[in-house]
């Protein structure tokens, strides 16, 4: 029995036990998307009817292992009914005895995810479609950043997060990752951490930060965004952090547009109107450098999990080749800021 057949059987057993009636897994298809969690499209047959869902597994050998499915699950549950552009979460557990790894199940939303790397999908859009997608993309982010998490199930997350310490907490979080993942010393990473320590902004508010908000992490259908995906890095922090990530050059695909969708100032103007605060441009620069460093660290994670022999996915060493280009971008960005 191969891995997929074994997973199919475990999934059917789990869902049957949970619902108290037989559930058959008709299809289990692994998607080539994502670099961390493994994503499957699942078709179930239950009570004579078929329905689809998405299953995500956080493998023990994965990029950011060890995983917990709970932050993503709790966030989507908190956002349910708020009008947020997010799939409905069905189930999650960190108990590996169920499916072999922490897992998360959610609604399968119609649509396709544009690929960010070359800009081919962005350039193929006509202006009307790009404008609609840009508006949806910006509005969904502003809406997320105005969501009152204190009145939701996420309130306990915010016990220690303040506008004053939001940046410092993230620097500390990613510094620990750097120490864990780096296979060799990277002087530019140390320079970047030193610069971030010296230039921390105060957040305009503490908000839900998606953590990976970019082209490629949403579904679109007929020119409209149907769902924001991949919430695994969600946390409470400075909302400008998500802007810094979305503004990364890696997601512009050579178009010069933020995520291949909107000019920077147009993006910011619409976001500011929706989010209800003016984006401090120095804070945005801080979070751009932070995001570049976070991206370099993500590539270091890929190098580490491949080097340790945990994961033979060829995307891991491929990602590892991008450490130097990203560090070079940090060096140039800091040079421009000096």
């Amino acid at each position: 029995m191969n891995d997929v057949d074994a997973l199919r059987e475990r999934l059917a057993n789990y869902l049957s036990a949970r619902s108290g009636r037989p559930v058959v897994v008709r299809e289990l298809v692994k998607f080539p998307v994502g670099f961390s969690w493994i994503t499957y499209g699942v078709r179930l047959q239950e009570n004579g009817a078929e329905h689809d869902l998405i299953l995500r597994l956080g493998p023990p050998y994965g990029l950011f292992a060890p995983y917990s499915a709970l932050p993503e699950y709790e966030t989507l549950k908190a956002l349910e009914g708020s009008g947020a552009c997010a799939p409905r979460a069905y189930d999650a557990s960190d108990d590996p005895s169920i499916l072999g790894a922490p897992f998360f199940m959610c609604e399968r939303v119609e649509g396709s995810a544009p690929v960010p790397w070359s800009g081919r999908d962005s350039r193929a859009m006509d202006d009307a479609r790009r404008t609609d997608l840009a508006n949806d993309f910006i509005d969904a982010l502003a809406s997320l950043h105005t969501f009152d998490w204190r009145r939701s199930g996420l309130a306990p997350w915010g016990a220690c997060v303040t506008p004053e310490n939001a940046a410092a907490r993230q620097i500390a979080f990613w510094r620990e990752k750097h120490e864990r993942w780096a296979l060799r010393p990277h002087p530019m990473a140390h320079r970047a951490f030193a610069w971030l320590e010296d230039n921390q902004p105060v957040a305009p508010r503490v908000a839900i930060v998606h953590g990976d908000y970019r082209l490629g992490n949403f579904l679109e259908q007929n020119g409209r965004i149907t769902a924001i995906l991949d919430w695994e890095l969600v946390h409470l922090a400075d909302p400008v952090e998500d802007l810094g990530w979305a503004f990364l050059p890696q997601y512009r695909g050579g178009t010069g547009l933020v995520c291949g969708l909107a000019k920077e100032e147009e993006f910011l103007a619409r976001y500011e109107a929706g989010a209800g605060f003016t984006v401090d441009r120095k804070a945005l620069r801080f979070y751009l450098v932070f995001s570049l460093l976070k991206l370099a660290l993500t590539h270091m994670a890929a190098a580490r999990c491949f080097e340790d022999g945990r994961f033979n996915d060829m995307r891991m060493p491929a990602m590892a080749t991008q450490i130097a280009p990203v560090l070079r971008q940090i060096e140039k960005t800091l040079g421009a800021a000096a």
Binding site: P32, W117, R315, A318, A324
Partner: protein, 160 residues
């Protein structure tokens, strides 16, 4: 190995593109194959047959050259023996360890400057910053010069 490493890699890539990928089922599997091509391209720009592999052949030649040189006077008109003096070559692992130790020292200095910037002489700190910046620029520029064109699009789509 009797082929050059670059030609061997070119052949591997051509085989993957022409013979393997068209016959693979599934976007994920094809994406992995494109990942192989990307990594082979990356290896091509940085790798050569190792010093250990070539060094042992030179040492063997050296031994033969010494034995044959002793016999040469008794073989008038014969081609001269090989003139090999095998030098000890550092292994790639030794060079890598030297680089990492140097980078570790630079990182430690960056961290120290970050913590002592206010109390250290400003002009000296500025000079140290500039020297470190020049080193980082040179190091990263070399890494980029010896990097293959990324293929993330092909790896994500499973097609080119």
């Amino acid at each position: 190995m009797n082929t050059s490493l670059p030609r061997l890699i070119d052949g591997m890539i051509a085989t993957l593109r022409q013979e393997v990928i068209p016959n693979l089922q599934g976007d994920f599997a094809r994406g992995q194959a494109y990942g192989l091509i990307y990594m082979l391209n990356s290896i091509r720009l940085r790798a050569s047959w190792s010093n250990e592999f070539l060094g042992e052949q030179l040492r063997a030649l050296d031994e033969a050259a010494q034995a044959l040189s002793a016999l040469a006077p008794q073989l008038p008109g014969a081609p001269p023996p090989p003139a090999i003096v095998a030098r000890p070559l550092p292994s790639a692992a030794e060079l890598e360890a030297q680089r990492d130790a140097g980078d570790k020292a630079i990182c430690d200095l960056i961290d120290w400057l970050g913590a002592h910037r206010a109390s250290a002489p400003a002009a000296v700190v500025a000079e140290a910053d500039a020297a470190i910046a020049r080193y980082i620029q040179r190091q990263l520029k070399w890494e980029l010069t010896t990097s293959a064109k990324p293929m993330f699009e092909e790896m994500s789509r499973g097609s080119d």
